[in-house]
Symmetry: D3
Subunit: 136 residues, 6 copies
């Protein structure tokens, strides 16, 4: 097998693994983001599946519940990453965090990143919680 | 009892609870920071014990292991909070996170906050791990 | 009196002081934010009243005019805290800052945080100034 | 000539140079921003023309293509500066960057500032690319 | 007089005004920074004098005490701008802020930017206060 | 060939490509960082080579000179990423940027991220320029 063929096979292997992980964690919300992204940049869509999901979230060193706690804390702290924060509040609920636990992570962020970060993240959480109620 | 007396009693109640929590979680590293801080601002030292530890970390809605995952993720993401990140890497180890899990949270931060954040946080983790080895 | 009763009494004392301070400074805009917040997280609503307003803004070491200058500068610098920035532009006007002085703080932010921060904060200020004109 | 007259003459000299540079680089999008800004703060509008455009962008030490690469990278990294990022994606196209090159700068930002920054910047780029297609 | 001569005269006019303002506000600490900067980039040194000091700090719309409150709040909030924060803590003391007021601004930053920002800024303040005591 | 063997082969392929790119761009400074990193986290060291260098910097859509302009702008803007900024100032010089051009990118950052970012980045540049002079 030539190196190029290997590479493509490999990439699609990693891509497939990442896509499954993305579906497992983020559900429909994550898939929609990738679909929209693919229209403008198929390459960034591919890297977003390969590196965060194919590489990182597939590692066994940390359970998915812990990973989503870390993701929610980081995305809230950034302050400007509201769309991604919402995706990971969905993801947190998908992998077993309760609404109460997610609110608690956000309350804790007032300590490290200030009250505006906590208030804006709590509003994002409210929108996610409401959207899931409406849907079901 | 007058309101003022109530208030002082109360404050010392909350302060005491916060100080115990600080000792439980951060150990010596946390206490040293508070001692240094008290010299320049006893008021900020008191608030740091009362609000983050007396109020937030004393809440039962989230276990301490999860809280330290969130703290490490947030402090790494800020990028500039190296002294506090180190205190919470100590704290994470104190409440049951393994070195491997802490490194894994930091690796995950490359996704949300970029590689420089992950690289600098990993250096901070190395210093904490080494310091604990030397000491024991 | 039991410690628990004391605590509740105390809490309500601090809460009451904080709520009065919030009304004094932020007026209706601040109260609305707390009302919305209470629906999703009554605890974060309570902490937002107790710590920033009950504890910090009630301290006599700095006058309210100076506190609002600091708040506007900090919130503009964060870049993403537009809702909170607007609340404190209202608050600044409520405690005696002129529109000219608020614009001047924002212009000064171009030096420390760059022109995008200053431009976006100036747009937020325009919206607040316009809203107050329409209302009166 | 009095100092005051000198100053005004000079200012208008620098202002004129800055305004020409702004038109050359940012085109209509830049001019509209300045017009809106002038309503609330003519002084900040003037400084925005004088310092970034009259002083910095007029310097010959770096070509405009390179300057727009730096501007797009910096504005994407800030995370919250979406209006300014869009202006400079327009500007980048105006001074000779291709859509592919702009997307590539944004993909590269995933390395330094994380995937949320890259994803949000790519959405901003899509909006600019679409707006230019609709218009022509 | 030719335009070029005008321009140089003007620049030196603005530069002179800025340099006087820098000396008035920042004192020796500010001058030393400019001297070091001049070795690597005389142009950035000139702009630092001309725009922040010649243009902004020379405007009469806000008194210097208020400007230094805003500067300390903004620089503390950035988190990474420790050298500049120290210069402006000196400057704050030079234009009439008390140590107590400066500590109070920093304590207030715990609300907007989190406790790590407040703790690190308080350490910077301690260093400035100590340096001034040693010197006198 | 089994999938596992494929994967390892592939990984080493990508790793090798990344390592070559790292050497080409960052030279010794980059290699040293990876060596130190490997002691605490071989996995993060591997990802740092695979994703930024194996994936991103190996893409032909943007020349290395342009990539280093973007990297220097982004790393300066972050404010806290001084070690990485220095590596990429070295890298910029390695791929053909002049000292003057690098200083110019940094001066331009005063517009987007404020003067403290520009001043601190200029100091980092000075250290890199001096280190290279001493060495040669």
């Amino acid at each position: 097998m030539s190196t190029v063929t290997d590479k493509l096979a490999m990439q699609s292997e990693k891509f497939k693994k990442g896509l499954e992980k993305l579906k497992e964690i983020d559900g429909e919300a994550g898939e929609n983001i990738i679909e929209t992204l693919k229209e403008v940049s198929p390459d960034l869509a591919r890297y977003t599946i390969e590196y965060p999901f194919g590489d990182i979230y597939s590692r066994p060193q940390l359970d998915l519940r812990s990973r989503e706690i870390a993701a929610i804390a980081a995305l809230a702290t950034l302050g400007f990453a509201t769309p991604q924060l919402k995706v990971h509040i969905h993801a947190g609920l998908n992998v077993g965090l309760s609404e109460t636990e997610i609110k608690e992570i956000i309350i804790q962020m007032s300590v490290y990143a200030g009250f505006p970060v906590a208030l804006n993240a709590m509003n994002a959480a409210k929108e996610v919680f409401d959207a899931r109620k409406t849907k079901s």
